[in-house]
Symmetry: C2
Subunit: 229 residues, 2 copies
Amino acid sequence: MIIGYNPEDKVYLAVDCIIFGFDNEDLKVLLIQRDFEPEQGKWSLMGGFLKQNETLDDAAARVLHRLTGVHDIYLEQLYTFSEVDRDPVARTISTSYYAIINIEKYNEKISKKTNAKWFSLSEVPQLIFDHDDMLDKAIKRLRRRTSINPIGFELLPEKFTMRQLQKLYEAILNKELDKRNFVNKINSMDVLIKLKEKDMSSSTKGSFLYIFNEEQYNAKQDNHFYLKL
Amino acid sequence: MIIGYNPEDKVYLAVDCIIFGFDNEDLKVLLIQRDFEPEQGKWSLMGGFLKQNETLDDAAARVLHRLTGVHDIYLEQLYTFSEVDRDPVARTISTSYYAIINIEKYNEKISKKTNAKWFSLSEVPQLIFDHDDMLDKAIKRLRRRTSINPIGFELLPEKFTMRQLQKLYEAILNKELDKRNFVNKINSMDVLIKLKEKDMSSSTKGSFLYIFNEEQYNAKQDNHFYLKL
DNA sequence: CCAAAAGTGTTGAGAGTACACCCATGC
DNA sequence: GCATGGGTGTACTCTCAACACTTTTGG
């Protein structure tokens, strides 16, 4: 026995993932309907238990992959929830993670999977345990992050219009933005490349497509952007 | 056995606390020298194991109290560290918390306790395990928080001078601030009460003392301050 | 020719930043 | 009378926010 080490008790450790997506209209979150007790039939975040030889980051990535088929997604740890009775079955402490993904890119895979469904933020049903709190924290964090540096490109197709990008920001921040101010601000960040190509699907005039200039972005990353909207 | 619940493994759960203090000169952090193996003699954050019937928040408060005698301190969860080999003895996952306290107010209590010592941020020795990372994250968080709303009053005596407050911000942000701009900004927040009393210890002229106007502060809390320095 | 979305600049207000001199007093 | 830290205001710049009209083209 090692002196000073006196682990009082063991507990179960889990991860839960808040997956955000965007469908060109609303910010959505991916939920699953539980097909097992407790709380069978209710909606919840995607979760799973930690394995012996993986980190929480690994576990979150594994759970996400198992339930959606999605790989190589940036996951960020949010907060660890530890209320004693949060899970009625056993003392379980859960670390929440959030990720943002492109709905179209993954939709096919996801829809084949078990009981997963996208919900607009305004239509999220009551979730099990403390998953509402988790979602809440995730939304707040996403909003804060959005104003620090340009997240959100992960949520769009490779080529996108200014309008789409604006709608995405509006969905995340849950408020309307002025078109001219938005364009000016985005352009001043200098992380987009304007293509000669136009998207003709949304208007007769057509709107220019942009791609994300990853190189520029990475170069500026450290300084932060402080895109205040 | 409950279907769908398949907890793969159990792990040990701990908390570690990063305690910041201020001595009118430097921002300091409270460390303890381990008097047990492993890593006996090395410096570490204050930590302990989670008990069966307490939350992580509770555990952090308990550990802090046990090792410093300090009560009723605002602790904020930082991040949960879960590298498989972070603790060589057993798989241990640790959730870090940080707090900021008034050194003078508690110094007597603390100095009686086991091996605890304040270190200026620039003089922190190498810490055990991943405690360096924890400290690093805490400093970053503290700096970010400082610019969102006026933290830091916790670190000062009840009555303090503008100069002290400025030094505190300089210590947290690790840069020099302009005296006039600082005073203007603080005054524009309208959360201090200027006393008629002066502190005569630092100069012949004496400098006015202030107290924190908690009521005003709480009233404004929600809107945030965005004290950009 | 008209409906529908795209595209584009200017102005005013407020916040941030840089900057220098006088004041009070103990010694 | 002088050394030491305390106290104070202004001018410039930059960013944010509000705001409206023209362009394109498919139908």
